[in-house]
């Protein structure tokens, strides 16, 4: 008989080991899934997890990996603070979209002015501001009217999706676009373009754009604040024991606003870098669900900055590897999402080992 026994304190080993175990379980389950679909499980797993990094076309895939990972990490870093404090911003996707709209709007307002020193920083400010405003709506509603931030932030995602569609056929539509929806491409506007900073590094570029630099910077700053600063302490305290936090002098309303502003701002800046670079234009197809995937990234990374960075890279790998495997293996495109879902699911189940010890006992019945 298996029995769970509560540990006196959370296991230090399992805090770090459980995400790794979850990845292994997911790969095994994925193998079973491919096998059921009639594919060779070993080849499929290899194609998704191995080839993009070590295969023949790594030079093409590695820059892609950074491009995908940067927004995931940026958003997830912001979310991880709120999640630790029990503040559930589920609407990062919306804040990401609004950040992109604001940044692109600023850039296009100056078009075709050639003043990168002014326009690019202004776009960053606008992207952050857009994300912050969108996150402040659920934050203020929670503080003043006790609404549920999960619902409000989530619903604002749909509002943001409608807005980006409206902008792409309305206010921001490319005047030279023959009536097709979508804004001017920022890739063709040097003052606003967030391009590869080291295009000559590999045969397909380095993949390092300003968003990647910002993401690395965010990881470091988040690490310092979470472990060494009163703000990080308050965040952890409020999540673990709200009453102890109140006793310690944490103002819960201020914490809600700070955490929402932080996650909204980072989602907004991620949207800015995306629209100015890899994506390039405001279009109905701009949303790529980074804001939702970042929730998985945050949890997979244990809500810890370093973990979030690793998890972001791993999640980007499932995107890239999944895309690469779709064609040759003729997988249904939903299988990648199934994969990502399984990852979160197995992590949450393995998590039980952090707080509980599994004991095998002889099954006996006491009369």
């Amino acid at each position: 008989m298996l029995r769970l026994e509560k540990r006196p304190q959370p296991s230090k080993v399992w805090i770090y080991a459980s995400p790794l175990l979850a990845v292994v379980i997911t790969i095994l389950l994925g193998g079973v899934l491919f096998w059921l679909l009639g594919k060779d499980p070993v080849a499929a797993t290899r194609m998704i997890f191995w080839d993009p990094i070590f295969g023949d076309f790594a030079a093409f895939y590695l820059p892609e990996l950074l491009i995908k990972a940067a927004p995931l990490i940026l958003i997830a870093i912001g979310l991880s603070f709120g999640f630790q404090a029990g503040i559930w911003n589920i609407g990062a996707e919306g804040q990401y979209i609004i950040g992109a709209i604001c940044a692109a709007g600023v850039a296009l307002a100056f078009y075709p002015l050639d003043a990168r020193w002014l326009i690019f920083p202004l776009m960053i400010v606008a992207g952050i501001a857009g994300g912050v405003v969108w996150a402040l709506i659920p934050a203020l509603l929670r503080v003043y009217f006790k609404t549920n931030e999960i619902l409000v932030s989530l619903m604002l995602v749909y509002v943001a999706e409608v807005l980006i569609n409206a902008f792409s056929v309305g206010l921001l539509r490319n005047p030279d676009g023959m009536g097709f929806p979508g804004s001017r491409s920022l890739k063709q506007y040097p003052a606003a373009h967030n391009g590869d900073l080291f295009p000559n590094l590999g045969s397909f570029g380095s993949g390092i754009h300003w968003g990647v630099i910002t993401a690395i910077f965010a990881v470091i700053v988040a690490y310092v604040f979470l472990t060494r600063h009163r703000f990080g302490f308050n965040v952890r305290l409020a999540g673990q024991s709200p009453r102890a936090a109140a006793f310690s002098g944490v103002n819960p309303n201020r914490l809600v606003i700070l955490c929402m502003v932080l996650s909204g701002g980072l989602a907004g800046i991620a949207g800015m870098f995306e629209v100015a670079g890899p994506s390039g234009q405001i279009l109905g197809s701009f949303p790529a669900y980074y804001g939702f995937t970042a929730i998985i990234v945050a949890f997979l990374g244990r809500l810890h900055p370093i973990g979030v960075m690793l998890a972001g890279l791993l999640m980007a790998l499932t995107y890239i590897g999944g895309d690469a495997a779709l064609q040759p293996l003729q997988l249904p495109s939903a299988s990648i999402q199934v994969f990502q879902g399984m990852l979160l699911f197995s992590l949450l189940s393995v998590d039980v080992l952090t707080n509980y010890r599994v004991r095998v006992t002889a099954g006996k019945v006491v009369a």
């Binding site: 009163r230 305290l237 936090a245 006793f247 002098g249 019945v365 006491v366």
Partner: protein
């Protein structure tokens, strides 16, 4: 048939790292009140859980009325005639009395029959209780009656009561004792768990004393000195806190017409509290749980701001200051609930030291934690208050209740407060640790600080207080000098038996 009801023979139960019961052997006779005495952690709970079928012993046997008794679960125990009233009630606030009782029954009768039965039993045993009342509105004493009646409906042969008087006023204790005496005269045996020695001396026929899981003595309480029983319990001589002569100074903290709404649905509103607290005094505040103790502490610590002018410190209005601003002035507090309020269970002791020590001890600079300083502060608390832990890196939840309590109280005392408010400072703490905590509070007052000690333990309050006041329904009585107060006077200050006496006399 013999006179013996339950025989325990060599019961042993070990948990990882600790032997809770070691070869426990004693008998309970029919129609006796048998006391089980011991400090926290002596193994009383494990033993009664074994009898009630919640814990299965590693070795040893039990015999109930000459037949082997091995209950697989509490249901089996109840079927054999063993009932238990727990220290913490398992009642649903939103349901009425009869519904709560029906929930615990296997084949509940119709609500009407049950209500009639409840009224009948409650009158028979002098425990007035209206079956239709909502449990959320009942006082702690009345809730306990619900639990007792729930047990009595099963006609138990053995009734186990775990610390039944900890939530009662002295008058309510008298009512309970009459009920227990009546049960005894009908032949029901009662296993009575307590560490209150005077109670046991008045009520119990026999006592078995446990220490560290072993039976260390048995006695007839009425013929044994309380002091001797205490020494058996503790296993040494008991250190009684010493106090210097009271020397009250200037008023430090002053409450004027303090009113506050209840912060939660089943909380208590504070009603027009007026109080002056002076340097160098210990003010004891008694009261039955749930009469505004938590709320008073929240209003003083700053977690629950009040209207302007209600709380002042050295004449300065601090009613709306937040906790850290109050700490900076020298007003510190230690709440009742250790896990999750006074301390964060999953954080280390270092972090828990930072939790309140940041402001006064300067543990951060520009918001950044000073690691060495914070660790040194936690280590100082651990050393000065003899907190038993492998080190400050351990999580608070790995500490025993008493050790964490010493840490929590020590953390505030070492910050050199001008006013310290403590709520239930020795709840669930063993006698030796309790004595050292009380001594620390007295020492603090002797150095010129003011101490407000909120407690439900009247013995404790009499031991430390210079003045005594009582909370009842959110209102505070006028403080009176503690010297010379009688138990009856204190009982009346606590609100008597919550208006239930009259009904009792009629019954």
């Amino acid at each position: 048939m013999s006179n013996l009801l339950l025989q325990l023979n060599g019961l042993t139960k070990a948990y990882p790292g600790v032997v809770a019961n070691k070869n426990v052997t004693f008998d309970i006779r029919k129609g006796e009140v048998h006391a089980l005495l011991g400090e926290n952690g002596a193994g009383k709970s494990t033993l009664v859980k074994t009898i009630y079928g919640l814990v299965h012993p590693d070795s040893g046997t039990m015999t109930l009325e000459d037949a082997p008794y091995r209950p697989a679960d509490p249901r089996a125990a109840r079927n054999s005639g063993v009932a238990m009233v727990f220290q913490h009630f398992s009642l649903f606030d939103a349901l009425n009395v009869a519904e709560n009782i029906a929930l615990g029954m296997e084949n509940p009768p119709s609500q009407r029959d049950l209500a009639a039965k409840i009224s009948e039993v409650s009158e028979l045993y002098g425990l007035p209780l209206d079956p239709a009342r909502i449990v959320g509105d009942l006082s702690a004493g009345e809730r306990q009656r619900v639990e007792i009646i729930r047990c009595l409906l099963q006609d138990p042969k053995l009734l186990i009561m775990d610390e039944p008087t900890s939530v009662l006023t002295p008058q309510e204790v008298d009512i309970l004792f009459e009920t227990l005496n009546k049960l005894r005269s009908e032949g029901t045996a009662i296993l009575y768990i307590s560490h209150k020695l005077e109670e046991i001396r008045t009520l119990c026929d026999h006592a078995t004393i446990l220490r560290l899981g072993e039976v260390v003595g048995t006695c007839v309480p009425a013929e044994t000195l309380a002091r001797d029983m205490a020494e058996l319990m503790v296993g040494g001589t008991l250190h009684v806190p010493e106090r210097a002569a009271p020397h009250a100074g200037d008023v430090v903290l002053s409450l004027k017409g303090l009113n506050a709404r209840a912060p939660s649905e089943f909380g208590t509103a504070l009603r027009n509290i007026n109080l002056d607290v002076r340097r160098g005094e210990v003010l004891g505040i008694g009261g039955v749980a749930g009469n505004g103790q938590d709320e008073l502490l929240l209003a003083l610590s700053g977690e629950m701001p009040t209207a302007a002018g209600m709380v002042s410190f050295h004449g300065q209005d601090i009613s709306q200051m937040r906790p850290n601003a109050r700490r900076a002035l020298g007003l510190l507090a230690a709440p009742e609930e250790r896990m999750g309020h006074a301390a964060a269970p999953d954080m280390t002791l270092i972090e828990n030291g930072f939790l309140t020590g940041d402001t006064r001890m300067g543990l951060s600079k520009n918001g950044f934690l000073q690691r060495a300083k914070t660790r040194a502060f936690a280590e100082k608390v651990i050393q000065a208050f003899d907190v038993r832990t492998p080190g400050p890196d351990n999580a608070a939840r790995s500490l025993s209740g008493g050790n964490l309590q010493k840490f929590v109280i020590g953390r505030e005392i070492l910050q050199d407060p001008e006013v310290l408010i403590v709520n239930q400072p020795t709840w669930g703490v063993d006698a030796a640790a309790a004595a050292s905590i009380r001594q620390a509070l007295l020492d603090l007052a002797a150095k010129g600080s003011a101490v407000i000690c909120i407690s439900q333990d009247l013995d404790e309050l009499m031991e430390v207080s210079d003045r005594f006041a009582a909370l009842n329904g959110g209102a505070l009585s006028d403080p009176r000098p503690a010297q010379g107060l009688t138990v009856d006077e204190i009982g009346l200050m606590l609100g008597g038996a919550h208006d239930m006496e009259v009904a009792h006399v009629e019954a």
